[in-house]
């Protein structure tokens, strides 16, 4: 069988007592690219964060399974080692820890003790990805995300993605803040990973990313749910017409999560 399967069922998530996700269902299989779109404040980042195990989000109902394993039972690091990756909308800055040391620790975390990647091999791998993503090599010696520009942070997330080679990746607005050239480079990176063993959920506001990375499925979130799914043509229609037609179709007045349909 090719690739892993991430299965999200009836997921309900609260933050500080306020329910944000109200029953999300989604299945992502190896080889598939999914796009999740939706207006601001409709729960997209909440979905991504809850899957990865962000400490602020509380799961109140539903399930997430990766190849049948209960993801919600796992610690954050276990989720990562099981094959999940989240490219974050707002990655943390970590002073005093170089990007390179962090990357090496991340790679070694997936390997047995005594089988750590050699420094030579690590540098070689890192350098080739840095080249591929057209990132200045000095960045590896800078402290993780500290003082990085918005675009540099996003490239750094893709650098991690490419080095860690997860089974299923969730990329939260990986395109925001990128200039046109960076957008191309980042897309090139994501497309390079495309194969039967890699599934990806791309959260984005813009069709322009999807021009480079063609999704197999497109989902629209409103009010903390997936309210519509379709093929790549759905994203194109959203780009052209906005969200009003969906709201009309579904009788939604306020799409944010505070409201109930």
């Amino acid at each position: 069988m090719a690739g892993s399967t991430l299965e999200i069922k009836n997921l309900h998530v609260s933050i500080e007592g306020k329910e944000i996700l109200k029953g999300v269902n989604l299945t992502i299989k190896g080889g598939e690219f999914h796009a999740v779109m939706g207006p601001n404040g409709t729960g997209k980042s909440t979905l991504a964060s809850a899957i990865m195990g962000h400490p602020k989000y509380e799961i109140t109902d539903g399930s997430v399974h990766l190849d049948g394993e209960d993801v919600l039972e796992m610690e954050v690091d276990e989720r990562a080692r099981a094959g999940l990756f989240l490219g974050m909308q707002y990655p943390s800055e970590i002073s005093g820890v170089t990007t390179s040391d962090f990357l090496r620790s991340s790679i070694n975390a997936r390997r047995e003790e005594g089988d750590e990647i050699s420094l030579m091999k690590f540098i070689k791998e890192m350098d080739s990805v840095l080249d591929f993503l057209e990132i200045d090599k000095n960045m590896a010696q800078r402290y993780l995300n500290e003082g990085f520009s918005g675009g540099e942070k996003k490239r750094n997330e893709i650098l991690q993605l490419m080095l860690l080679k997860p089974e299923i990746a969730i990329l939260d607005e990986i395109d925001s803040g990128l200039d046109i050239d960076a957008l191309k480079v980042v897309s090139k990176g994501i497309n390079k990973l495309r194969d039967d063993n890699f599934g990806c959920l791309i959260i984005t506001h813009y069709q322009r990313l999807l021009n480079y990375i063609t999704p197999d499925h497109v989902h629209v979130m409103m009010q903390g749910r997936v309210v519509k799914s379709g093929g790549p043509e759905l994203a194109q229609r959203l780009e052209a017409e906005g969200y009003d037609w969906i709201k009309e179709e579904l009788g939604i007045e306020d799409e944010t999560v505070g409201q109930n349909a």
Binding site: M52, G53, H54, P55, E75, V76, D77, R79, A80, R81, F85, L86, M88, P91, S92, I94, S95, G96, V97, D101, F102, S105, S106, A109, R110, Y143, Q160, L164
Partner: protein, 435 residues
């Protein structure tokens, strides 16, 4: 309870000690006078830390140590302090109260650099030592501990760099208290004459976890006009040693004194690092890292006093507290009247790793001049859960993620240490203390 007033060693002991060391008369006199003063002087009163029950009186005063004929003989305890294959050219190892090993490159000897233990210095360079010893920096009668130090001084070194001599390679000393009961009254005197420069690094080590003793250290660092001194240290006394460590710098016109101090003792510690910027345009950067663990109580003071115009003082203190450790971090920037155009900056950050740990950052600015700039920042906090989450989301375990964050937190000072082997050693000490 009041302070224990009885001194453990009397006049005849001190007199004999001085005579046995063949010290010059002025030194004997200074010791005896100090002993007398010690009886009347008060203990120091570090802000917010009570030290009156600490052990400053139970110790053994003299202990010899055997010499090493080569670095190959170094015991395991010391190996990590040196890169043996790349041994420093200028190194002194003090074992208890004796010199166990000492080397100074021919080049530096030819240039007139003095780097020797304090007793040899008293014999061979008595006048030079007398000119600086407890004069410009620390005074004998500041309080009981400085007086006791002067009376009972039983180790230390003298470094003297002549005018216009620039030293590129570092000078390193290791003070090893091998005898678990032996007290160390160490005196380090570093003098850089006009237009000279040097990098000096020292380590304090002991292994006494059960035996109690005392370290009472005075370090005086003098930078004459336009001299530059980079001073690095890793203090690593074991939990049985109560430490009073007074490192003081005096910088004259256009001089710079930079400090990078790893304050890693395991016992109760009062550590003060004060620099007086006497001359115009004098500069000091004081960077310290500390880790507290167990039940130890520590009080750290980093202080820069501006007298000279256009003088520049920067203090950066980072501390990590775990278990039930308690620490006070005093950061003091003082600008005297007349020190116009000066700048006093300071930053103190404390990271708490447990509920019971206590950390307190006290930023103080005392300014007696209008035309100056000054700033301070202080914080006491815990490991940021979002940083942990980010690291763990890449598969890194919580323990390893915390380790990365803590090392990162201490990095600004660790990276400042001027010798690679000492930097690595500090990293190892941190590793040991934090995990």
């Amino acid at each position: 309870m009041t302070v224990e007033t009885k001194l453990p060693y009397d006049k005849s002991y001190v007199e004999n000690y001085s005579v046995n060391q063949n010290e010059p008369a002025w030194m004997k006199e200074l010791r005896l006078q100090a002993l007398e003063q010690a009886e009347h002087l008060e203990m120091p009163k570090p802000d917010k830390t009570k030290i009156n029950r600490w052990n400053f009186t139970r110790f053994k005063h003299g202990a010899e140590g055997e010499t090493f004929s080569s670095l190959k003989e170094l015991p395991a305890e010391l190996e990590e302090f040196l890169d043996k294959d790349n041994a420093p050219e200028n190194l002194l190892i003090q074992r208890n109260n004796s010199v166990a090993y000492s080397t100074l490159s021919k080049e530096l000897r030819d240039k007139g650099v003095i780097f020797t233990d304090i007793f040899t210095a008293l014999k061979e360079h008595g006048e030079l030592v007398q000119r600086y010893y407890m004069k410009d920096a620390v005074s004998v009668d500041e309080h009981r501990l400085t007086a006791l130090h002067a009376a009972l001084m039983n180790g230390g070194i003298f470094v003297h760099v002549p005018k216009n001599v620039q030293i590129d390679v570092p000078i390193q000393t290791i003070f090893w208290q091998e005898d678990p009961e032996a007290a160390l009254f160490n005196h380090v005197l570093v003098v850089a004459e006009e237009n000279s420069s040097l990098t000096y690094v020292e380590n304090y080590i002991s292994q006494n976890q059960n035996e109690e003793t005392v370290a009472n250290i005075v370090t005086e660092v003098i930078a004459q006009d336009n001299a530059k001194i980079s001073f690095g240290a890793v203090d690593n006394f074991a939990s049985g040693t109560t430490v009073y460590n007074n490192r003081r710098g005096v910088a004259y016109r256009d001089a710079t004194i930079d400090w990078a101090l790893g304050q890693m003792n395991d016992g109760n510690t009062v550590s003060e690092n004060i620099t007086h910027l006497i001359g115009d345009n004098a500069v000091s950067n004081a960077k310290t890292v500390s880790v507290g663990r167990g039940k130890q109580i520590q009080n750290f003071t980093a202080k820069i006093v501006h007298f000279g115009k256009n003088s520049e003082g920067h203090i950066l203190q980072h501390g990590v507290m775990k278990e039930s450790a308690t620490s006070i971090f005093n950061g003091i920037g003082k600008i005297e009247h007349g020190a116009s155009k000066s700048n006093a900056e300071q930053e103190s950050r404390v990271l708490m790793l447990s509920e019971k740990a206590r950390g307190d950052a006290n930023p103080i600015l005392l300014i007696d001049e209008d035309d100056v700039t000054a700033g301070h920042a202080a914080s006491v906090g815990r490991v940021d859960p979002l940083q942990l989450y980010y690291l763990m989301s890449r598969g890194i375990s919580q323990a390893e993620a915390e380790r990365l964050i803590i090392h990162g937190f201490l990095a600004p000072v660790v990276n400042q240490l001027p010798i690679e082997s000492v930097k690595n050693q500090l990293t190892q000490v941190i590793e040991r203390k934090v995990y």
